[in-house]
Amino acid sequence: MAILKDFETKHFPTWCPGCGNYGIWTTVKQALVKAGFEPDQVLIVFGVGCSGNETNFLHGYGFHGLHGRPLPIAHGAKIARRNVKVVVIGGDGDGYGEGLAHFIHTIRGNPELTYIVHDNQVYGLTKGQTSPTSEKGYKSSSTPSGVIEKPINPLSLALAAEATFVSQGFAGNAVHLTDLIVKALKHPGFSLVNVLQPCVTFNHHNTFQWFYRRVYDLAKEGYVTNDRMKAIERAREWGERIPLGVFFEEVRDTYEEDLPQLAKMPLADEPLDDIDISPLLKELQ
């Protein structure tokens, strides 16, 4: 069985000291170990952004794709080898801005992917512009007078798109987040883990302290995870109290299960030497 170190590379993270990414990085490694994976059994697809740089620090098959596009790469990869665990790691700008269409459409199909979003409500790598999850009025270098738009709510969007596993963690609570990611990794279908992650360099509003005062654990309030409408209600909670934990989970057929082509063996292992096109030619006569 793998240990934590097996998921580390020779590169040490280049994030700012105190960045919430360190916490997420640690919990992802721990969760992969706890869920029983070896580095060569997983493909981790990254978006582009501060979170995407994790590709260099996390040992396993990696795919560092394009900004906003990790989900389609992961979906294509999962269809090709459904026996490989596919995890997607991206940021809020990546997944909820540039790649929002993929977020909704991937959820619809329920492929077995675990999607971990580093949601720091700001563009870190490009030095502090507003993000799709920045709060209304948030002042940044691209919105010096404050953001006019209301923020995206990824949890309620996912719930509305019929997601089968929707959860939220906090980079400042590693134990809780590890547990959440393990659950997500074990979910047979698409699982979203939105991680609230303070950006210590550029977001001076949503700080660790700001979150510590607000976050609470849904599980400790006797919340049950099988009611989508109640989940949407909780997902809309923001401000004085911010819920953490699993909002909703259900089991339904995955994208892969609905494809008879994938029933026998991984698509990539299909032999190519017994293809006969003569019936196709006959149709054209």
Partner: protein, 560 residues
């Protein structure tokens, strides 16, 4: 199946050759639609301008096409349609009244079956045995049951008998059935799809876009029986990234689109190049820019395709010129993609994509599947330190491992990366990786097939072209024989890498070089000048969304 194709297939079953071409506006129904079928005893590479039978379902058709009819040709029209009038029209034509709507309603209870009535009438005019039509209808409507077959046959006979009774003797053309040669009637899009299936594509993604859509529907229709996953994704960005994801895992993957969709794919195209992921992208052109002429044809995207995506990387671009080439070159493009671990771009256009050509059945035994360099688990076990992007390889191609394999871990990284895929921005590494990828291109260039001169030796005229223009050029060459003009042609199938030396040698030795392109800029001409320094001065260019008629090429030659 549309009636025009029933006619094409009937002729081919009777041992003749057919080529058909459709025009339609970009809307679901209505507007002026045409279906043109050209029939001959010998191979036909393109339709020409002359029409012998015009089936006019409305007055607009008569107005628009009456001048195209050969003297003695026939116009089939519905005398019950009060909006149609054939008085005071050309005197050298035969006007055949046919109560299409009435016969269709009486027999099938559906006036939309007018086409089938007209098909019967056409058979009668041409004295073509109706049993051939019966056999096609039995095959085409077989799945819909005996009643549907019989209804179609009866409706067909309604038209056939109506014209037979009129004893039209002035019509001078006749079709004689011969022994069937077993030919197939196939479009470029069908050929690309079948080529892909034969070559082992197991993942196909697309977003509908004319004129590429019928590849998607073809692949979807045959997906389950060939164990292929077909994904209609939310947009072309997703399409290309999914195909890359599947290609990364070791599945032969392909996607197709037209210019607008390819524009969305550009970033992914570069991603496949830097991560060295095989994927075949088919670009079926239509005239642009933007939405342009969505249902028409053109070759305006050549220079765009050659330069698509940011940055410098080997761009493998090829273009078939007819349906047979579309089949074999699609399969070959998939081999090149995997052997050189690279995206490959195959260019087609609406004329090739949607026109039916008659050819002998494709020969699957000529297709070889070559997967390129991949490591085995045993090799990985024996190695201490697997380097997916090993720069020491002479041909630039370093063996692939696949997720799930032990000891084969690497990162496919859109950032410039080191031999294991870790982000690496040093000067030395950047140069090494640029050169590694470029060496793949040089290696392929040294092995690729070279273009050949086809036709008369020391010809008066050498035609130079790429893509579907081939059909019109071949037809023109046939007819130019009658004018005692000797001709040959130089078709460029691999546009990048460009076979510079061969092309220059051929052009230098040619008497009169003529560029034929379905675009405004003469983009192949530009490419040839860039790559060889040879400037082709004579150009026949057409950019109105319509394919070339052979006559246009012949007229150009004869007027000089």
């Amino acid at each position: 199946m549309v009636t025009g194709l029933l006619f094409s297939k009937s002729c081919v079953r009777a041992g003749l050759k057919a080529f058909d071409y459709t025009e339609y506006p970009s809307r679901i129904r209505g507007g002026h639609n045409t279906y043109l079928v050209q029939i001959g005893e010998q191979e036909i590479f393109s339709h020409d301008r002359s029409v012998e039978i015009l089936v006019a379902l409305n007055q607009e058709t008569i107005d628009l096409h009456i001048e195209e009819l050969s003297a003695g040709g026939a116009v089939i029209y519905d005398p019950d349609d009060k909006k149609i009038s054939v008085v005071r029209l050309r005197k050298d034509l035969v006007y055949v009244p046919l109560q299409m709507a009435k016969i269709a309603s009486d027999i099938a209870g559906n006036r939309l079956m007018r086409n089938t009535v007209a098909l019967g009438a056409t058979f009668s005019l041409l004295q073509f045995p109706k049993e051939i039509a019966y056999s096609i209808m039995k095959d085409v409507f077989g799945s819909k049951g005996k009643e549907v077959i019989q209804q179609n046959i009866d409706t067909f006979n309604g038209g056939f008998d109506s014209v037979s009774k009129q004893q039209i003797e002035r019509f001078g053309w006749k079709l004689e059935a011969r022994e069937s040669k077993g030919d197939i009637v196939v479009t470029g899009n069908d050929a690309i799809s079948i080529g892909a299936i034969a070559a082992g594509v197991k993942f196909y993604s697309a977003y509908p876009m004319t004129p590429a859509s019928s590849i998607l529907t073809y692949m979807a229709e045959h997906a389950e029986s060939y164990g292929i996953v077909v994904k209609h994704a939310e947009d072309e960005i997703s399409v290309v990234n999914m195909a890359i994801g599947a290609g990364h895992m070791g599945v032969r993957s392909m996607c197709a689109t037209s210019g607008g969709g390819f524009a969305l794919m550009n970033e992914g195209y570069g991603l496949a190049a830097i991560t060295e992921t095989p994927v075949l992208i088919v670009l079926v052109q239509r005239p642009g820019p933007a939405t342009g002429l969505p249902t028409w044809t053109g070759q305006g995207d050549l220079q765009y395709a050659l330069h698509a995506a940011q940055g410098e990387f080997p761009r493998f671009v090829l273009a078939p010129g007819d349906v047979s080439e579309a089949f074999y070159m699609t399969a070959e493009a998939l081999n090149v993609a995997e052997e050189y671990q690279s995206p490959v771009l195959l260019l087609s256009d609406k004329q090739l994509a949607e026109s039916h050509e008659t050819v002998p059945p494709f020969d699957q035994s000529k297709i070889e599947i070559r997967r390129g360099k991949c490591v085995t688990q045993r090799q990985l076990n024996a190695q201490k330190d697997f380097k997916r992007y090993d720069v020491s390889v002479e041909d630039g191609v370093s063996p692939r491992s696949f997720p799930g394999m032990k000891a084969g871990i690497f990162i496919a990284n859109s950032d410039e990366h080191d031999e294991k895929g870790f982000t690496e921005e040093s000067s030395e590494n950047a140069i090494a990786m640029f050169q590694k990828r470029q060496r793949k291109f040089e290696d392929f260039k040294s092995k690729m097939s070279q273009p050949k001169l086809v036709g008369d030796k020391n010809a008066d005229v050498t035609f130079v072209f790429w893509g579907s223009v081939k059909g019109a050029v071949q037809e023109a060459m046939k007819k130019l024989k009658e004018y005692k003009t000797t001709t040959n042609h130089l078709q460029i199938t691999w546009l990048s890498p460009f076979p510079s030396e061969t092309v220059l040698k051929i052009l230098n030795a040619s008497k009169r070089v003529l560029l034929v392109e379905n675009n405004m800029d003469g983009q192949l001409g530009q490419l040839i000048r860039e790559q060889t320094g040879f400037e082709i001065k004579e150009k026949i260019l057409k950019y109105d969304g319509r394919p070339f008629f052979p006559e246009e090429i012949i007229e150009y030659i004869n007027k000089e």
